[in-house]
Each structure stands twice: as structure tokens, then as C-alpha cells.
């Protein structure tokens, strides 16, 4: 599988009369984009806003972010706007540095439980911006209103259909027929067989509407570990549906640019051989399923003839167990492992960091703590809604989105856990 990625960098965005790329400046025809999104009649309103890095702004009610990509010859975002066909080969254009973010106030129909579309807040400026995947992107934000008679699964699908449709349209309109700034090839070419082989054991979370991960448009709730080609991940096979866990999710744009995959590709043939990706699910509700996952995932890593493996997980709580049991089985099979994780630690940093441990996890990379309380400052501009919603367990409490906003911990901050190591945050013993 050979994927040619043609990158068209975007360093500025503006509204314009037609969607085009002028150098690295993306102009967006907002009416055309909104009309396109509204071809899905589940969407009753679509506002298009642009938000730039460093702006004194906050984006709230974030549902997900997609990097604009267009597969030359058709087939972008299979399972969403194209037929289901394995992604990851051929030519894909991407607007590097841009992101389509979809925001919507989704219904809070229950008082709590894991499948609640919680508040996802993205800070564009200040120290917390370093934890926000949107802070470095030129953001094209779709603020949607959905029909109020939709069941949860339809709401879920409507927002992701909107973003993928918009993302493909922008990439195509801006780059079709144009020359890219850079072209990179992603291919697992044969390399020196004496190089150590490294597998990426990639654990996602998927538990139904608002808490799922989509693979070619289908929920991965029942996923038993499988092998995928890394190009599929880069090329839109995975869409993130984890609105329920803002900090502890991997937005689609992060999947499309997964830094572990990119890093292993960079080193492929130089110091290591990238053996492939084992895709797994965590947070199963029974111990038996957790053991099944560990056995299956470690078996697949062995079938990839891995000498080493990097393991990442997603979500929180008992989801860590699948990953660590898998790590344990890998180490027992002689596969050397590194585990990437965020930490708890309590508000003062003196509480237990992880929910679970295995003694074999002797090489851990930490991406920082979720537990520190934060105060989000007042901002000049909010996009997505004028209010945020907290406390679903009492039916929801609204607060002004402009701020200041006091949060007990960082759960509501979009994408901050950096499960796949996308930011530079970490944590050390003090």
C-alpha cells in the first residue's frame, strides 16, 4: 500500500467569494459550505466561523476536528461520504495546518452515565493552548443546530457527516489540479531485515453514541484486536466520536496525523522497521474481555514479528487495564514495550498517578496530569455557543462561555491528554 500525501500548507484563513488557496491563504466561501452541510436535513442551521491560532478566543461545544483531505479520484472518508474501500493508497491532498471543527449543542437526555456528550472546550490562547490540538490550526468552525427529534445515534452521525463532507469539499476546492508544496510517500518498504521490528499497539475506546470511535463509518464497540495498515489511519479510516470524554479523546485530525505512526515511518529503515499497527479497544466491562484483548493483541504483535512495541490507550478508568495487560503479555513474549499515558495525581500532584499498574511497565512516557484545577480566563470571542454546560449528573448547569470559568480539573479541555503523544507536555517526580 503506497500513499502519496500531497501537502498544501495553510497559514491563514479568510472568508471569500469562492473557496480557494491563494499561496498559503485559504479563502472559504461560507455560504457554499453551509449549503453543502445543510444537504443533510438533520442539520437545520450551519454557521461558519474562522478561528486563528493565538486569537483571544475560545471554541466550545466542540464535537470533533478533521483535517481537510481529498483523495484524488474519489473515495475520501470511506464510510462517511464515500463507499467503504480500504484507505491508505493512491494520492491524497491535505490542507496541512487547517482543521474543520464541528460544534453543536447535543441533547443531554440523561443525568449522567458515560454516553453523555459533555462540554468540550478549546482554548486558543494562554498556557492551556499548548494542550489544545486546535491552537495551532487555522480553524474552519461549523456551528450546527440539529433537528430536535433525532435519537442520539443520528445526532452523532450528523455531526461527523457534516465535518467530513466539509473537510473533503475544502480540500478538493482548494487543491484540485494544483501543485503541492511537499509530497511525502508512506509505504512500508522492505528494509534491512536485521533492524528491530516495532509494532504500534493502538488502543481506542468505543462505547456507543457520543463515546465511540468509527472505523470506515462504523462503531468499533465490538472490536477484538485486529491488524490495520498505518496508512489507513493517516488516510481517514478512523473518525473520533468521543464527545463524552473531552480531555481523554483523540480528535480525528490527531488520528490523521498520528505522531507515533509518523515517527515510526520516519525511522523506518533507519534504526528500526515499522512492523504495522494492531488496533484494539479498551474499557470492556468484563475481566474476560480484557484478557481476550490482551491475548489477541499480543498475539498479533508476535505475528507482526515485533521485537518492540509502543502502546497507547484512550479514555480513562478501567480502559488502562486492556493496554497494560497487553503490555504484560508482550513483555512475557519477549517484545520490549514503551507505554504512553496521561496521569491523575490529584489537585496537588501527590495522589496516585495511575489507576492500574503491571510490574512489566518499566518504560513509561507521561503526557501530564488531568487533575489540576484550572481557571479559564475571560476571552474576547467565543465560538460554538454563548454558554457552556457542566454537571450532567444534576441535569446540567450553564455558565457563560466567555469566562472566567473555574473547572475542578481539566476533563472538559478538548484533546488535552495527548494519548498518542502529540504535544510536549509531561510530568516528573518533584
Amino acid at each position: 500500500m503506497r500513499l502519496e500525501r500531497r501537502s498544501f500548507p495553510v497559514t491563514a484563513a479568510a472568508l471569500g467569494t469562492r473557496t480557494r488557496l491563494d499561496g498559503t491563504r485559504l479563502e472559504v466561501d461560507r455560504a457554499e459550505l453551509a449549503d453543502l452541510v445543510r444537504t443533510d436535513d438533520r442539520v437545520t442551521r450551519c454557521e461558519v466561523e474562522l478561528v486563528a491560532p493565538g486569537e483571544d478566543a475560545r471554541i466550545v461545544h466542540v464535537c470533533d476536528t478533521v483535517e481537510p483531505q481529498w483523495r484524488a479520484g474519489g473515495g475520501t472518508f470511506p464510510g462517511w461520504i464515500s463507499p467503504i474501500r480500504t484507505a491508505g493508497s493512491g494520492v491524497t491532498h491535505r490542507l496541512a495546518g487547517a482543521g474543520v471543527t464541528v460544534c453543536a449543542e447535543l441533547p443531554w437526555r440523561r443525568t449522567g452515565g458515560i454516553q453523555t456528550p459533555r462540554e468540550n472546550i478549546a482554548e486558543m490562547r494562554g498556557p492551556l493552548a499548548a494542550l489544545n490540538p486546535l491552537a495551532r490550526l487555522q480553524n474552519i468552525v461549523l456551528v450546527l443546530t440539529l433537528r430536535d427529534d433525532l435519537p442520539d445515534e443520528e445526532c452523532d452521525r450528523a455531526v461527523h457527516l457534516a465535518e467530513t463532507r466539509a473537510a473533503e469539499h475544502l480540500a478538493r476546492a482548494a487543491t484540485e489540479g494544483a501543485e503541492p508544496a511537499t509530497t511525502d510517500v508512506r509505504e512500508l518498504v522492505d528494509v534491512d531485515p536485521s533492524l528491530p521490528r516495532v509494532a504500534y499497539v493502538y488502543q481506542i475506546t468505543s462505547q456507543g453514541p457520543y463515546a465511540g470511535t468509527f472505523y470506515y463509518g462504523g462503531y468499533l464497540d465490538r472490536l477484538m484486536p485486529t491488524i490495520v495498515h498505518p496508512n489507513e489511519i493517516l488516510d481517514g479510516a478512523l473518525v473520533d466520536g468521543n464527545i463524552a470524554g473531552p480531555w481523554i479523546r483523540t480528535p480525528t485530525t490527531v488520528h490523521q496525523n498520528n505522531p507515533i505512526i509518523e515517527g515510526l515511518y520516519r525511522d523506518h529503515g533507519k534504526g528500526l522497521a515499522f512492523a504495522g499497527v494492531v488496533l484494539t479497544r479498551g474499557h470492556y466491562y468484563g475481566m474476560d474481555d480484557k484478557f481476550r484483548v490482551a491475548q489477541q493483541a499480543s498475539k498479533l504483535a508476535r505475528w507482526l514479528r515485533a521485537d518492540g512495541a509502543i502502546l497507547t490507550w484512550e479514555n480513562a478508568g478501567n480502559g488502562i487495564m486492556e493496554c497494560l495487560y497487553t503490555l504484560q503479555e508482550c513483555e512475557r513474549a519477549g517484545i520490549k514495550t514503551v507505554f504512553v499515558t496521561w496521569e491523575h495525581g490529584g489537585a496537588a500532584g501527590d495522589d496516585t498517578p495511575l489507576q492500574f499498574y503491571v510490574p512489566e511497565a518499566d518504560a513509561i512516557v507521561s503526557t501530564g496530569s488531568m487533575d489540576e484545577p484550572v481557571v479559564l480566563p475571560e476571552v474576547a470571542r467565543v465560538v460554538g455557543s454563548d454558554t457552556i454546560r457542566l454537571d450532567p449528573q444534576v441535569g446540567g448547569v450553564r455558565h457563560p462561555a466567555r469566562g472566567p470559568i473555574t473547572l475542578d480539573w481539566r476533563l472538559e479541555l478538548y484533546g488535552g491528554a495527548a494519548h498518542v503523544g502529540e504535544h510536549r507536555y509531561g510530568r516528573v517526580d518533584a
Binding site: Y285, G286, M287, D288, N318
Partner: protein, 59 residues
């Protein structure tokens, strides 16, 4: 800190019950769990010990 007397539950959202069995029989699963828990309270242990419930619906 590790618990000393542990009874292995069914699944996280319903640790002591099994909604997959017939409705009128689900109470039997819960009763099996309740009885086992009481037995375990009356059992000496030396450290963290996992006990299981011997009932077909308990898994």
C-alpha cells in the same frame, strides 16, 4: 490499597446482576451474589483473595 475479600462481579455496569438472563430469573443471580458475599465475610483470608460465584448467570 488492595481489598482483601473480593467477589468477582459480572460486568461493570451491573456488577452483581446479569440482565442477559430471563427477567424473572435475574433475582436469582443477585441472590447468589448476596449469599456469596455473606459467606466470604465469614471466611478467614490472609491477604487479597478473589472469590467467584458459582451460578451459571454469574459470568
Amino acid at each position: 490499597m488492595r481489598a482483601n475479600r473480593i467477589v468477582a462481579g459480572v460486568r461493570i455496569p451491573h456488577p452483581v446482576s446479569n440482565p442477559a438472563v430471563a427477567k424473572d430469573r435475574e433475582i436469582e443471580v443477585r441472590t447468589a451474589f448476596a449469599k456469596r458475599a455473606l459467606e466470604v465475610l465469614a471466611t478467614p483470608v490472609e491477604g487479597p483473595t478473589v472469590f467467584t460465584v458459582d451460578h451459571p448467570g454469574a459470568r
